[in-house]
Symmetry: C2
Subunit: 217 residues, 2 copies
DNA sequence: AAATTGTGGTGAACAGTGTTTACTTTTTGA
DNA sequence: TCAAAAAGTAAACACTGTTCACCACAATTT
């Protein structure tokens, strides 16, 4: 609320913060959270390890920012497709395909975003303010699309959009994780010739959408 | 090929190996691979840390055995359901539900089994002998079921069972991972009242199966 | 029976990790 | 100019997986 919206000190600080994040991003994308060590990171930017802690409370917090940035990228891309004015069927399929595409381009980011926090061990409050997180917004896009499908009569009338969105999301998530963790997927055996990955993604997307459709033979 | 199929020394060795695995299993189930440290494990069984390495080449190898045992349990359960003589629709749904059920009962095991190895970074030979692994056998059960659905006319005739099995598997995997990583799933916000978990699993299963069905309106 | 080989077990160390603390230097603001 | 705050650091703490040299005891071989 002062005269200058950001003091030189602040700008300097943000610049260094950004440099740290940028260096972290590079190695995280290639080697994941385990490959990213504070000491290596500090060396990359010519600082002492302890210096990092003047900018980030912990390694987890640092990595969380990388994950959030990634989800912003993911959301942007899916949103762009969802806002197109192409036919519904095509648009829905492209949203799924884009989600999987972007996610698998940065496997460590995607996997860490879901894998990261502590596993299910009793009812925790878990995700505070999910609706406002990037993840939450991505979910909202999905839900809106399903509502459109229901209201235009393409999908069954009795579908609960929130439920269906979660189911759809889970299926997308599953395919993404499969690709992320099994390098040859959809091939399971290296010497297997199956559909190309892209084609399989479309197949999977169609499969999911078909599950929602009203079957007016 | 000697007279006694297992010498006293061998039996003794296997016994200790089992004790180590048993102790490891307990803490792994509660805290995952990160919570399981060789030193803690050694203390639990009153040995020195180095002693563990007389029985296991590395921590990874030890954990791999835990994961393999878990997948054996998972496979057994799904197989038991698949071999029932209940109506197809019910049987298929129960297989999916059981898979998710067993998996989410040991979240660390399930997540680690997929998350464990190195992420997709180029075409590696990846899964040597997938067909014979427990994971591979679980997949085979799925595929057989789909083939039954196709041959009895419940599913569309043009379905490639291998492809469909992978797609179905991916969807099951996705739901499982969601539940594993989001304690409140299918609720996203803690103060959200949705379908119970069990009901959601069935909803998801129906959704997947509907995607395969022939829609003879 | 004696000598040798192999196995089970250990303490100590190596090379890492995230993080904290005490301390110094630099920058900032009045 | 001078005190206060911020930036940066070396060293240590408490861990981690893993290896190495060594010891004791059991099993085999001579």
């Amino acid at each position: 609320m002062t005269a200058s919206v950001s003091s030189p000190a602040e700008r300097r600080r943000n610049k260094i913060r950004a440099r740290i994040l940028s260096a972290a991003e590079r190695v995280f994308a290639r080697e994941g959270a385990d490959g990213l060590s504070i000491r290596r990171l500090a060396e990359n930017i010519d600082y002492s390890p302890a210096a990092i802690y003047k900018y980030f409370k912990s390694k987890d917090e640092l990595v969380d920012e990388l994950k959030e940035s990634f989800f912003e990228l993911l959301l942007e891309n899916v949103h762009r497709i969802a806002d197109r004015s192409t036919p519904f069927a095509e648009r829905a399929r492209d949203c799924v395909a884009t989600y999987v595409q972007i996610a698998t381009e940065k496997p460590y980011h995607y996997a860490a975003a879901f894998t990261g926090q502590a596993l299910s061990s009793g009812p925790v409050d878990s995700e505070p303010g999910f609706e406002n997180s990037k993840k939450g917004q991505a979910f909202y896009v999905l839900r809106s699309m399903i509502e459109e499908g229901v209201s235009t009569g393409i999908f069954r009338k009795d579908i609960d959009s929130a439920l269906a969105a979660k189911s759809l999301w889970a299926s997308m998530h599953g395919l993404t994780m499969m690709i992320v963790h099994i390098p040859t997927f959809p091939a399971l055996n290296p010497a297997q010739n199956t559909l190309s990955r892209q084609d399989f993604i479309l197949f999977h997307a169609d499969q999911m959408i078909r599950g929602l459709e009203a079957n007016d033979g």
